[in-house]
């Protein structure tokens, strides 16, 4: 079942998704979209892990994906809470509004 699709296809797909995610982070200014793009990048990496895991018959890749999911869940929860809190102060989610760190 696995043999039908070469491993490099999965890797290439994941590279494309990763690049799209990274590009999205740069193109958009909306913090929520940026968060989504980061999630997409993580998912792309996860896909690589799982692909390697099944092509190499190793459980480690899947465990890693598990851990990444934990991190992603925490990241989204904290990130969104931060966003809501920021929104209370600035009335905005545009990241260019949050520029008070400049020198």
């Amino acid at each position: 079942m696995i043999g039908a699709v070469p491993l490099s296809y999965y890797l290439l797909l994941s590279a494309i998704l990763f690049t799209i995610g990274a590009g999205g982070v740069l193109i958009r200014r909306n913090a929520i979209i940026i968060l989504m793009c980061v999630e997409m990048m993580m998912n792309a990496v996860n896909l690589t892990f799982v692909a390697f895991s099944s092509y190499l018959d190793s459980a480690t890749g899947q465990i890693f994906v598990f851990m990444v999911m934990v991190v992603a869940a925490v990241e989204v929860a904290v990130g969104l809470a931060l966003l809501v809190e920021l929104n209370r102060h600035k009335e905005a989610v545009n990241i260019d509004e949050f520029n008070s760190l400049k020198g």
Binding site: L26, N99, L101, K102, G103
Partner: protein
């Protein structure tokens, strides 16, 4: 049927379930901690003791199976906690006679004290019951303590022992400071007829006492930790079985060189570990925290500061007996420190007016006895005394608590008197416990103390001398306290009228412990002596613990001559009885004698009442200089010098930053872009350029 039992035992189900002994009290602590406030105190009062009792039952099963396999140690490994390089830390438990003895003492006595506490922490007023404000918190900590103590004794390596060691310290801190909102307790001066009154320092507040205990214990813990590190660097393992077999192979060599005056690495380990034991088991010079620990609720004093936690040092030394046997020089130090502690604490106990402090100093003194025993190599005797001491001292503390409860938290024996008529059960059990502590013939304390003294005599008659004098003083101060509290006329009529006997939940544990205090001696009847008169009853404790105590070299197992043994036996027995008689004469027959004595020896009396001014000494020598030093450091060095450098460099950087900050425009997207380009270069270099230069690794 017997065969069936054997097969049941052979499967060692209870042994494999030994983790439950820890898990159950832990579960109780979790439950009480999370839901305790919500479910009401009655539920808490049932959950907490039940958990300990179940743990006791499993411990009993484990001990039974250990007995059935003739004391052979059994490892129960749960999982590997961490594996870093060579350091392998399994979560595993050692089930052997020593750990099982401790488990039974901890859970058994612990259970009785839990039962006792369910009533002690409730105040009855005119038919209404008011549980303590933090009833659930108390039982959370108490259960947590039981679990931690069991980790300490069940762990099969020094790291787990250390974890338990620190956990019990933390629990002790939490429990001593349980009534953290109470302040210092000023004490009235001791009046002497026709003489100058002796001022008494105020008792520390519970919060301060907890802190003191914690800090003093830290000093010991540093020693213990260093000892564990040294074991790891020297032998490369912390597992008991591997470590001890490694030491055993060269124990004889170490022993010889130590006897020739060399200070070997084993001696260093033994010394560092002993420093830890000094802290936890309240030996000179680190004993000062224990008397102040009496600021905690009485069940805590009974459980932690008499029966279990303070004996952790003894347990540790008995567990490491091969180390101490290989380091006879340190063993001698242990015995000396023990003997001195026993003696000094007993002298202080002679004149204390606070019932719990008398018992506290007596605990320090008895712990000194135990250290003397393990110092002279009588590990079994030390353990035996540990067990009997747990029985009678818990009984005495609980009795003192019962009195406190009845008198509305009054603990000053100058305000008691005649309480026997009001509180017959408490008085009776207190008498029995007191007899055991005083070493009255045929009680548990008598046998264990006598065994220690006999073994000490064999080692050094001088130490025996200190021991026997201490024994006399022990009997005297114990019965001084008993007579002042329970006999004679009431000295505070109002308190006396108010007093009443406590409920069954308080008296039942008292009676059980009192019976154990009397009959606990059956665990270690003096076999050589009985053999001399033609009775062959083995020393149960010795046979039981035999597999744990490792023999070094070819020791001649020689006993004292029968006649010497008998003489020692009779001397200590006689001394106990005589001292009780003396106390009777002083405090019942002619009350003026102690007054006269105090007047005529006023300076010594004042010295004893003020505990040799050790606390003041430590304050002047260590605490105040340390505070001054830290103040100087923080003001002089830190604020001017260090902060000057820091502020200066910060200022410089800030100046520099003014120019560099042009790069920082505050737009997150620009930063992300910079990161992206950086990643691009790195990835490009890594994939297309081949290798990173070597220095990067």
């Amino acid at each position: 049927m017997i065969g069936n039992w054997q097969s049941v035992i052979d499967k060692q189900r209870m042994t494999n379930l030994i983790w439950l002994v820890i898990a159950l009290p832990l579960a109780g602590a979790l439950f009480n901690g999370i839901f305790g406030r919500r479910v009401g105190y009655q539920v808490v009062a049932k959950v907490a003791p039940t958990m300990v009792f179940l743990a006791f039952l499993i411990g009993l099963g484990g001990a039974f199976e250990t007995y059935a396999r003739h004391g052979k140690a059994q490892l129960v490994t749960l999982w590997t906690w961490a594996e870093i390089g060579e350091l392998n830390i399994p979560i595993s438990f050692l089930v052997d006679p020593l750990s099982m003895t401790m488990v039974l003492v901890i859970t058994g006595v612990g259970f009785l004290i839990h039962i006792y506490a369910t009533d002690y922490m409730v105040h009855h007023h005119h038919g209404e019951t008011h549980p303590d404000r933090d009833f659930a918190r108390f039982f959370t900590f108490l259960n947590l303590f039981i679990a931690s103590m069991l980790v300490l004794v069940l762990g099969d390596n020094y790291l787990m022992m250390f974890i338990g060691w620190e956990l019990v310290g933390a629990c002790s801190y939490l429990l001593i400071g349980f009534w953290h909102d109470r302040g210092d307790d000023p004490q009235p001066a001791i009046e002497i007829e026709g003489g100058e009154a002796v001022q008494v320092a105020p008792l520390l507040s519970p919060a301060a006492s907890g802190m003191k205990a914690f800090v003093v214990n830290r000093i010991g813990d540093v020693g213990f930790a260093l000892g564990v590190f040294l074991i790891w660097t020297t032998f490369g393992t912390l597992q008991f079985d591997q470590l001890f077999s490694r030491i055993a192979s060269s124990a004889e060599m170490y022993r010889e060189s130590a006897l020739h005056g060399e200070f070997t690495v084993i001696s260093m380990i033994a010394l560092l570990l002993f420093i830890g034991a000094m802290g936890k088991s309240a030996q000179i010079p680190l004993y000062v925290w224990l008397p102040d620990a009496m600021a905690g609720p009485t069940p805590v004093s009974a459980l932690i500061h008499a029966a279990t936690m303070v004996t952790a040092g003894i347990y540790m030394i008995v567990r490491s007996n091969i180390i101490y046997t290989s380091a006879p020089n340190v063993s001698f130090l242990v015995a000396m420190v023990g003997a001195l502690t026993a003696f000094f604490a007993a002298t202080i106990a002679l004149v204390q007016v606070d019932l719990k402090r008398v018992l506290a100093y007596s605990t320090v003194s008895q712990l000194g006895y135990m250290f003397m025993a393990v110092g002279v190599g009588a590990y079994t005797a030390g353990m035996f005394h540990l067990v009997t001491h747990a029985f009678f001292k818990a009984c005495l503390f609980l009795g003192a608590g019962s009195v406190m409860h009845a008198l509305g938290d009054v603990i000053d024996i100058r305000r008691m008197g005649g309480l026997r008529k009001k509180m017959p059960h408490t008085a009776m059990t207190f008498y029995l416990g007191g007899l055991a502590l005083a070493g009255f013939p045929l009680t548990a304390g008598f046998f264990s103390k006598d065994e220690i003294l006999a073994k000490t005599f064999e080692y050094s008659p001088m130490l025996w001398g200190i021991g026997i004098v201490t024994a006399g003083m022990t009997a005297f101060y114990t019965f001084r306290a008993i007579f002042l509290a329970f006999e004679g006329e009431p000295r505070d009529q109002e308190l006396y009228d108010h007093a009443h006997e406590n409920r069954l939940a308080v008296t039942a544990p008292l009676w059980i412990l009192a019976v154990l205090a009397i009959f606990g001696g059956l665990l270690g009847l003096p076999a050589p002596l009985l053999h001399g008169v033609g009775i062959d009853i083995p020393h149960a404790m010795e046979n039981w613990l035999h597999p744990v105590i490792q023999q070094v070299g070819h020791h001649e197992v020689h006993h004292l001559p029968f006649i010497t043994e008998l003489a020692l036996f009779l001397i200590s027995g006689f001394l106990g009885v005589a001292s009780i008689g003396l106390a009777y004469y002083f405090y019942i027959v002619d009350r003026s004698i102690p007054q006269n004595l105090a007047r005529s020896t006023h300076p010594i009396f004042a010295l004893l009442v003020n505990k040799y001014y050790i606390d003041e000494l430590y304050n002047t020598v260590f605490v105040k200089p340390a505070l001054t030093l830290s103040n100087t450091m923080s003001r002089g060095i830190d604020q001017t010098l260090i902060d000057g450098i820091v502020d200066g460099s910060a200022y410089g950087i800030a100046e520099l930053g003014k120019y560099l900050s042009q790069l920082q425009n505050g737009f997150i997207s620009r930063y992300a872009l910079a990161t992206f380009i950086g990643v691009l270069f790195l990835v490009g270099y890594f994939f297309l350029g081949g290798q990173f230069p070597n220095w990067i690794y």
